[in-house]
């Protein structure tokens, strides 16, 4: 869903994901994930909503890891940019592992990464930074929208530092892109 939003009609990855779009995508994915899930109902009844949210989040983490891989393999990044990409990808791998662990512990089935992701045409380091910023912005919005829906306190505890990471990543990229970092979200 997010990759479709990312691509504009020309197939480039320059279109920003709006918070509204990210939330809409998250909501649709939650519904689809809940329907498609083959988890025994008795095992997950109490935290079914949490598990659906965690699987949406896990899908975003898989996508982010793949995006940073694509960026690193493009050979377009400077040494400093590559350092950031590797550091942030490491964060996302940690998130992925944590989310996978929680989903399993609560009786769910973690979603697997897609076999491929379409990140559009990447022709410059700026394209990669814009792609990464869009993904981080979408992730920040998804975590913010769903944090208050989590029922299990332990899962919420795990989600809080992930939210912190996403905001930090998004802010770093916004600075790199010369975007306004003083604008407060509407809430």
């Amino acid at each position: 869903m997010l990759r479709e939003i990312l691509k504009d009609k020309k197939g480039t990855a320059k279109k920003q994901i709006s918070r509204r779009q990210a939330l809409k995508a998250g909501g649709i994915s939650v519904a689809a994930g809940a329907l498609a899930s083959a988890i025994p109902a008795a095992a997950v009844t109490r935290y079914a909503g949490d598990l659906a949210i965690l699987n949406v989040a896990l899908g975003l983490e898989h996508q982010a890891i793949a995006a940073y891989d694509a960026g690193a393999k493009s050979k377009l990044l400077s040494a400093d940019q590559l350092k950031i990409a590797v550091s942030f990808q490491t964060d996302h791998k940690r998130h992925r592992d944590a989310l996978t662990s929680y989903i399993k512990r609560f009786g769910g089935t973690p979603v697997a990464p897609q076999s491929s992701y379409d990140f559009g045409t990447i022709t410059s380091a700026t394209d990669i930074v814009k792609l990464a910023q869009s993904l981080e912005d979408g992730a920040e919005g998804a975590y913010l929208a769903n944090a208050g829906k989590l029922e299990n306190r332990e899962i919420l505890n795990a989600a809080v530092p992930i939210l912190e990471d996403e905001v930090r990543h998004n802010t770093v990229f916004k600075q790199l892109l010369g975007m306004d970092v003083t604008e407060r979200l509407k809430y």
């Binding site: 306190r153 809080v160 530092p161 905001v167 770093v172 600075q175 809430y187």
Partner: protein, 195 residues
């Protein structure tokens, strides 16, 4: 800019107070964490009794403690940015960011105050005096702001999962995101690694 409080800037900034991560907890954070215990106690009480009515009462009581502590931090942050703005030490670009960040903290302050009022609690005002040390240059002010934002991130992150009512949690998550954004920018300006 309008003066919101009397400021004292008599003492030197503690040399060993920044950027050590293991410095002692500040008063606000100590108070915050002490109050957090109230929320936890409320949750535990509910788990033991399973009485939703009692949960409601305990939730409000617990969240009131958290909101009160959060309000303390927001008052302090608003005043710290005021001190920076009035120092005349900030360059125009930094001043613009400081004003924007102070605006965020005022938004947090007003939001928290509104919730407290809706619960029938009169929100506390700022302290009469805050000791921000001797602000000699722009870097001192940036460090002061960075230190306060760092403390706020730790406090909100620690307390988020202790918040028992959903609207308060939603608001708190957004406030946390603001604090992380502020901290990231101030780290960047001061050369503190963000990655």
């Amino acid at each position: 800019m309008k003066t919101e409080t009397n400021l004292t800037a008599q003492n030197d900034w503690p040399k060993n107070d920044w950027p050590k991560k293991d410095r002692p907890l500040g008063t606000a954070r100590r108070e915050w964490i002490r109050l957090a215990g109230t929320a936890s106690a409320g949750a535990i009480f509910y788990l033991l009794t399973g009485n939703p009515k009692r949960l409601y009462g305990q939730s409000l009581q617990g969240d009131l403690g958290i909101l009160t502590a959060a309000l303390y931090l927001e008052h302090e942050a608003v005043t710290a940015y005021q001190a920076g703005a009035e120092s005349k030490l900030l360059s125009p670009g930094v001043l613009k960011v400081a004003v924007a960040f102070q605006s965020d903290h005022k938004y947090h302050r007003d939001g928290i105050s509104g919730v407290l009022k809706s619960l029938g609690v009169e929100p506390s005002g700022p302290e009469k005096k805050y000791d921000f040390g001797h602000l000699r240059n722009e870097t001192d002010i940036l460090r002061l702001a960075r230190d306060r934002e760092h403390g706020a991130v730790q406090a909100y992150a620690t307390l988020a999962s202790n918040i028992l009512t959903k609207p308060v949690l939603n608001f708190g998550a957004n406030v946390l995101a603001d604090e992380v954004r502020h901290l990231t920018i101030l780290n960047s300006v001061l050369g503190v690694p963000n990655y």
